[in-house]
Symmetry: none
Subunit: 231 residues, 2 copies
DNA sequence: TAGTGTATCTCGACT
DNA sequence: AGTCGAGGTACACTA
């Protein structure tokens, strides 16, 4: 990895064209050829960038460019498209290279997939005596997160979100419309389950006859940990 | 802006929890308190980060931490939430600071707000002999992207998206419900037009009696270029 | 200021 | 390889 702080202007040509006027910026050149152009603000998104795989070529400036202060021209070309990033280097203030090696990578916890697994394992949370039919039950308009059967034998469709918003209720409504056309499943009732459910979503769900279930992720994980420890 | 290359491990706690084991990485500390943790690969997204506004606090390691090689503990706290990034610094290999000033900012060009204009000009694409009634036809629940009349004289409401998803079909359905109550327009049929239409959206559209039209933006732009060249 | 739609989205999982 | 769904999405625009 090479890290450069330089006065530069940048032009991107690809899906769109974009231009950055001359200013002092941080340039990151990664081993895979990708390049990031960062300013001292904004969030993690660079002002401009080239995705890997890419190749960097450096060239001398034309006389015209040299006359306006360009010291070097860096051209970054994507390997799989004709996207191009052109960096006109005026002055380099810092330039260092380090070998970082391969990163061992990020481990995540607490995403929707975890929630789905936990709820499938602890399906009693949607009602004592419930049994799992299957996760990701397929339909023409997409998979239903969890399909279950309650103690009375009725089918239950569960839509799962980390944050329960109106969108999720709409989604579940569409599934219910579809599932209720299937005589082997009908009648199907819906449960909208999330770690947090917004008031508007609760109102809409109530209006549609959909039950809401607020999930306590930490508690569910604790149960999971205890279950795992038995083995 | 401060740029550091260091051996470190990183933990994030917020919307989710994430952990990065000890490795050599690039740390970027921006003036607004935001922090990026980059490896020598991937795209522009950092392995881990803290969004601005945030505050960095540095502390001495506990004895326990010091025994496993931690030289310093950096805690980055978001100002507006309780998200926290904890960086355990083992060894710093590079550490430099530069004042970059305020960036003049990015100018973009050639983005596709033109899609609607292009389809309005090439309204025959929705059916030979069609004529434009108007773009952004106002209704009580918002403007319909394009309202047209087909060769047979029937009204056509067109909902336009770059990527056609179920949401767009729902939106068009609401417009059609409303427009069909207007005796001067009814019967109104719908066309869902997008550069890409997802299979689920197609299913739902078919179910609602809405036609789908996949648009070739490049071809439409070519036609537009040729038209422009005539003048 | 909150809501909405796009993005050079990125990223992973699955077909 | 393409497709689809989710994101600590970010970001611009609008009401």
């Amino acid at each position: 990895m090479r890290v450069v702080i330089a006065d530069c202007s940048v032009d991107y040509r690809g899906r769109l064209t974009a231009h950055l006027p001359l200013a002092r910026r941080l340039l990151i050149l990664k081993a895979d050829g990708s390049v990031l152009v960062h300013s001292d603000g904004g969030s993690y998104k660079p002002l401009n960038w080239m995705s890997p795989p890419a190749r960097l070529a450096t060239a001398e400036p034309t006389q015209e460019q040299a006359e306006v202060g360009v010291a070097s021209v860096w051209t970054v070309s994507a390997a799989k498209s004709d996207d191009q990033l052109r960096i006109l280097i005026h002055e380099i203030h810092e330039d260092l290279s380090h070998d970082l090696g391969v990163d061992p990578g990020l481990t995540k916890d607490g995403v929707e997939a975890d929630l789905q697994r936990l709820l499938a394992e602890q399906i009693d949370l949607v009602g004592a005596g419930s049994t799992l039919i299957r996760r990701e039950y397929p339909t023409a308009i997409g998979p239903v997160d969890i399909l279950a059967r309650d103690a009375a034998g009725a089918t239950v469709a569960i839509e799962l979100k980390r944050r329960g918003d109106i969108d999720g209720v709409e989604q579940l409504t569409r599934y219910l419309d579809l599932l209720n056309r299937d005589p082997r499943l009908a009648p199907v009732r819906g449960i909208f389950a999330a770690q947090q459910i917004k008031p508007q979503a609760k109102v809409l769900a109530a209006d549609r006859g959909i039950a809401c279930l607020t999930l306590d992720y930490d508690a569910m994980r604790d149960v999971d940990d205890k279950d795992s420890r038995l083995f």
